[in-house]
Assembly symmetry: C2
């Protein structure tokens, strides 16, 4: 069993990006610039945006956080997005979710210029991804692809079972892994809350990707010997064994599943660290106008 | 075993559309108008476009075929598309594929205003479909959905196996049937040319959708007793038993598979007749501005 070390891969990707930025600087080119819109004072959102800003600094990007009170109206927010769409200095931007209830998140996503949509949530980027065209792929599925690629895991002809059908993880990774590509060319099964007999599917999975948000759902009896297991879940539960009083659990019962696996992600330290690396990668591609010219 | 009669369902849908058009006429509204661009003189394309025009007449739509020689340049074709995009009298239009080799088909597809993209091939319509938003769904997957819906076939929690991962059939129907919807909520497996053991999957399918383009690929031993089988394949083969000297075969060996099925599509007369009905439905939705306002 080998751990899929997301932290190491993330550092590797960041290093590559930093090298490219250095080169751009030396050649007198425009430094990539990522802007994050943050509405309100949600603790988790503050943390995420903080991490993103720090990572921008690490790789040499310019970055900015635009903060708004949660009293901002939908019209005002859409105006701010329009400004960023039209700002030639901004290569990519994200709107940190969730947004206050009086704002239609889907409307906000669709207001972002697809060329600057480095979160990859705009339908045009989703559509391009599904039909195999170059696109901004959203952070978590892109992170999973990077893990498989950089650990040189064979995927062609393998049966990949995805647990969860969310628009941000299950659905995109299922589409990506069935494309004619590497990583890809998998036979892919998508299971979800309406699947009556999930174990019948997971037992046959060569690659198992779990994104359900149910702590320790996957047990050893559900996993095939030698499987590759990618655990996207992360749930915070109380614990009397840690100083902080809580611990993070994945969707996979790691201790009993890991010994059966050829590869498995730890939680934390698996897919999580890769999401910001993917965002930075998309921002670099935006700055280089790689996708939309 | 019951036949999924695509001809009957197609007539039913056309009847519903005709009724709506009658109502629009009575109320003095604008009659839906579909335009088809036809480049060159490909026999099959001529036939398809002819059928589409005839069907428009049947339901009371206005229709027009714009014909161009295959010497038309890409720039000229894109200009024609732009004219249609800007023509307020045109509700929807299609560009009949295939196009001559000197024209980039994907560029043409992306030049069509998504609001008039009644073929549903523009990435924004694909993306909206994948994330479960209202969109123009392309003809074949929409036809399959209509068959399942109008025959009231139970889909929730069923295992649907899709053979084929093309952008026009396999991939969209796999996405649609895994959505939280009816028809939908299936556990979906996509198999394709890189799947080493297709039979292991098909044997467990409650719903089997075959879109490989390999005549009579699916044999009785590959199908579960009681399965619902939808055959999208259509291959023309020589025959000394028909007057015309040829016959049409599906991807399923009908004679031996049909007795095992609860429902099965005939070929021809299954999904085929529904594709034009779906195109008409999309055109009506475009005229009513149901999706994009």
């Amino acid at each position: 069993m080998e751990l899929l070390d997301g932290k190491r891969i993330s550092d590797e990707i960041k290093g590559e990006i930093a090298t490219e930025v250095e080169k751009i600087k030396k050649e007198g080119g425009k430094i990539p610039r990522l802007v994050a819109i943050l509405v309100g004072h949600d603790g988790a959102s503050e943390t995420y945006v903080g991490h993103k800003e720090k990572s921008c600094n690490q790789v040499g990007f310019e970055s900015q956080v635009l903060r708004f009170e949660d009293t901002i109206t939908e019209v005002e927010l859409l105006q701010e997005i329009e400004k960023l769409n039209n700002d030639p200095l901004v290569d990519g931007f994200i709107v940190q979710m969730p947004l206050p209830k009086h704002i239609d998140e889907q409307k906000v996503i669709e207001a972002i210029d697809p060329r600057k949509d480095v979160d990859g949530f705009h339908p045009i980027n989703v559509g391009r991804m599904v039909i195999g065209l170059p696109s901004y792929i959203s952070a978590t599925p892109d992170g999973i692809i990077e893990l498989l690629r950089r650990y040189k895991i064979e995927t062609s002809g393998k049966h990949c079972v995805v647990l969860g059908r969310s628009n941000i993880v299950g659905r995109p990774i299922a589409n990506l892994l069935s494309l004619k590509a590497y990583p890809g060319d998998c036979t892919v099964t998508v299971c979800h809350s309406k699947t009556p007999n999930i174990k019948e599917f997971t037992k046959n999975a060569d690659i198992l990707i779990v994104a359900m948000g149910k702590a320790e759902f996957v047990t050893a009896d559900m996993v095939k010997e030698g499987a590759v297991v990618v655990d996207v879940g992360i749930t915070r539960v109380k614990s009397d064994k840690t100083k902080s009083g809580w611990k993070l659990l994945g969707d996979v019962k790691f201790d009993e599943v890991a010994p059966k696996c050829s590869y498995i992600t730890p939680v934390p330290g698996g897919v999580g660290p890769l999401t910001i690396a993917s965002l930075l990668k998309n921002t670099l591609r935006a700055a280089k106008k790689e996708i939309y010219g």
